[in-house]
Symmetry: C2
Subunit: 515 residues, 2 copies
Amino acid sequence: MSKPSQPKHAISPTRAEDFPEWYQQVVKAADLAENSETRGCMVIKPWGYGIWELIQRQLDQRFKETGHQNAYFPLLIPVSYLEKEAEHAEGFATECAVVTHHRLEAVKDEETGRTRMVPTGELAEPYVVRPTSETIIGAAFSRWIESYRDLPLLINQWANVMRWEMRPRLFLRTAEFLWQEGHTAHETREEALEETRMIHRLYTGFLRDHLAIPVIPGEKTENERFPGAEMTLTVEAMVQDRKAIQAGTSHYLGQNFAHAQDISFTGRDGSVQHAHTTSWGVSTRLIGTLIMAHSDDDGLVCPPRVAPWQIVILPVAPKPESREAVFESCQALAETLRHQSYCGEPLRVHVDTREMNGGVKKWEWIKKGAPVRIEIGPRDIETRKVCVQRRDRAANEKEFMPKEDFLRGVGEMLDSVHHMLLERARGFRDAHITGCADMAAFDDHWAADNPGWLLTAWNGTPAQEEEISKRHKITIRCLPVDHAMLPGEAVETAGSNCILTGEPAPQLALWGRSY
Amino acid sequence: MSKPSQPKHAISPTRAEDFPEWYQQVVKAADLAENSETRGCMVIKPWGYGIWELIQRQLDQRFKETGHQNAYFPLLIPVSYLEKEAEHAEGFATECAVVTHHRLEAVKDEETGRTRMVPTGELAEPYVVRPTSETIIGAAFSRWIESYRDLPLLINQWANVMRWEMRPRLFLRTAEFLWQEGHTAHETREEALEETRMIHRLYTGFLRDHLAIPVIPGEKTENERFPGAEMTLTVEAMVQDRKAIQAGTSHYLGQNFAHAQDISFTGRDGSVQHAHTTSWGVSTRLIGTLIMAHSDDDGLVCPPRVAPWQIVILPVAPKPESREAVFESCQALAETLRHQSYCGEPLRVHVDTREMNGGVKKWEWIKKGAPVRIEIGPRDIETRKVCVQRRDRAANEKEFMPKEDFLRGVGEMLDSVHHMLLERARGFRDAHITGCADMAAFDDHWAADNPGWLLTAWNGTPAQEEEISKRHKITIRCLPVDHAMLPGEAVETAGSNCILTGEPAPQLALWGRSY
């Protein structure tokens, strides 16, 4: 066989060849998750779950710092709860897991002789497995809140939820997923709006500072709002096929749920009032987002703050007689590193002592996306050097540096990896947001392969929005809240007259295809 | 009204008056949890969930230190999975939530005009909400394990599970509960047995060192084993009505599940073998156990290591002009304390600045079981003293001590609270374990109110055990693994001949009523 002229990559197909299949292969190669025999449900494997645990711990700390408390509410929601808020019910009840029986009975099949388990014990009222918990948490709030002194009530839940997805995709869209759902109740509209916006800022910052993902924060149009909400704020990420992923949302629910569920309180003036509520959440979808945002044709690239191992040390000891000294040196380095902290947590360092081919082992960690790899061999011990390889750089790029220098600079190096990923993603995103003020150009744009996002001025009606959306299989991802976060050229080109009506429209809309 | 002659308690009824009702009232007064409208399911409120978060974090650390990794598996288990291991299916399938449909449809009731949501979209194969995950995790293990090199596989899952309990009781027995379930696969029987025993020791130590509960570790008899297991180890706690609570179990599953689910591997000799598996778990039941073990007639008594706030500081500022100085002093003390650590974690300190009656506030924290309360008033600032009250002592007992002494000794004080609770529980338990070698005395024992446990020598058959169990509504809680952990007098009295057969029986059995 002749040598291939193309550089060889660990993942096949590459992003350019087949992005959706590349994604599946990265998830597999990094051993993050897999499909199960439960329709649309995934098994999250240790490396994937490790990322989720870090996301969870770091977000949880931010929620607690902003005054929220965790609690836990029932998995099953009585169907009658869903009947109370019609719009909400319509949005969620269509595809959900319904529990109708509470017992299985073993029945022997006369023909085959096999025993089958069949449902029995029908319930008077069926339950749904929570698709989201507004209704059941609202019922608790209704019991807990009596006076304005009980407000604000700031609750968060870490839980599994279920929506019967028709086209599941690992992490991005699965029937069951893990998430957090915040639910808060406030005395006034202003306070509830401020909570909604505060969480929106928190999510924006979390994605930027922990996942190295530069999202565009904005408001959803009426068409795209959470069922039952008066305002939905979203953070939208662009991934490498230029599609959008809605990475987190924060909803102002007005008094809709409070009316439907009687979340009322005696106000300061003695009158009975209904609370203003909010809800907000992010899910294991964040893992899908970070994979699609950062990974390359060699596999996962994991941002340092959520990498289960930030530094993987690989002993290189081809000769048995040097083995012990090399292993000892690796373990000693790991111990020293573990006493250092990065972003307020001890460094997470792993020494891979498995007996296996060194090249295969190294590529395993490349595919799993460990931010920094260190190789130490017998000669490095003598010279007191380490061989450092960064996941954000080419797989064959390595730097030999004095161990002391590495130890002194390891925090900065991880920061540098983080910022490289963030800036690369920001550069990519900004290069694929284009301003547009001309409807013909707008229509042409979506015929391209992997079209980027278009930014336009917009004051069309919901019906007009829907018509355009259907025509091009796109949506308004958001009405950006901060024009300074958009590429300046796109803002300028979009102008200030609605692309459809031509009327003055100070509001910009960001259009795109999405997952 | 004349003064009541009895000392007044915060919880009514008291333990002596009505233990089950006292328990409900403690859960309510401490704001730990409440019933929901989902049958048998509870809402875990922030103070109760805070305890669970600490249990979870501290146990999780121990699991990771012993080489386990977390992962996540589907909530819904195809019914056909349960058909594979007959004994297991029989044990769990009888009462469980069955998902049969994946959609709700809005149907207008012609008579009432109201819209009802009815199940539609029947599934070809129903699912059960996991009552435990041996079957679905076994299916994953079957995919993951190919060679002896893949073993041992050491996995843990933090999850919600569901069993359709007929007589639910908050924390102790609820339809849905939170737990961890460890699932491991090993090359040999010996390795799997050692894993089962190691986790058993881990649970024993965790309950003693974190929850101040002195359990009796032992083995379950065949009658009481986990469905499908070859050996079940248990840790049994005695609570204040002298009943037993099975607080955690660790099962050696032999090759039963491996055969049922084809968890096989190529061994060192090239032959195909079946893995030896284990499973083990503790749940939110631990919270019920600690409430019943330690609490008193004034409410919850929370062991320091799992108290959401270990120290609660109450500003006492009756006059407005001293308010600011007192608040500042309290916050400064809290900050100093938060920089100290206890058992490897920063001290958890809360300053309760709510404007409300001081007595009511103080009693709230007594009922919630905060281990140490500190009062600071204007005079204490001058004298540089703090007023310290410990939850393990009488509610009116207080000690004024120099602030510096308190700060220096706070870790020791929390240790002292922990050990007081542990020793009190141990003393209570040992006083209510009685050795018995005479069948007539044995039979008489169970007629008493709140009978304690009986220790006997035992070599009866499963049928004989069942007969005795039914007669007195008792069970063999365990066959203790370490006689040195039992009260010496009871061991001596129990003797070495079976209480029933009179035959030599080196094995002791511990009998009792249980939750």
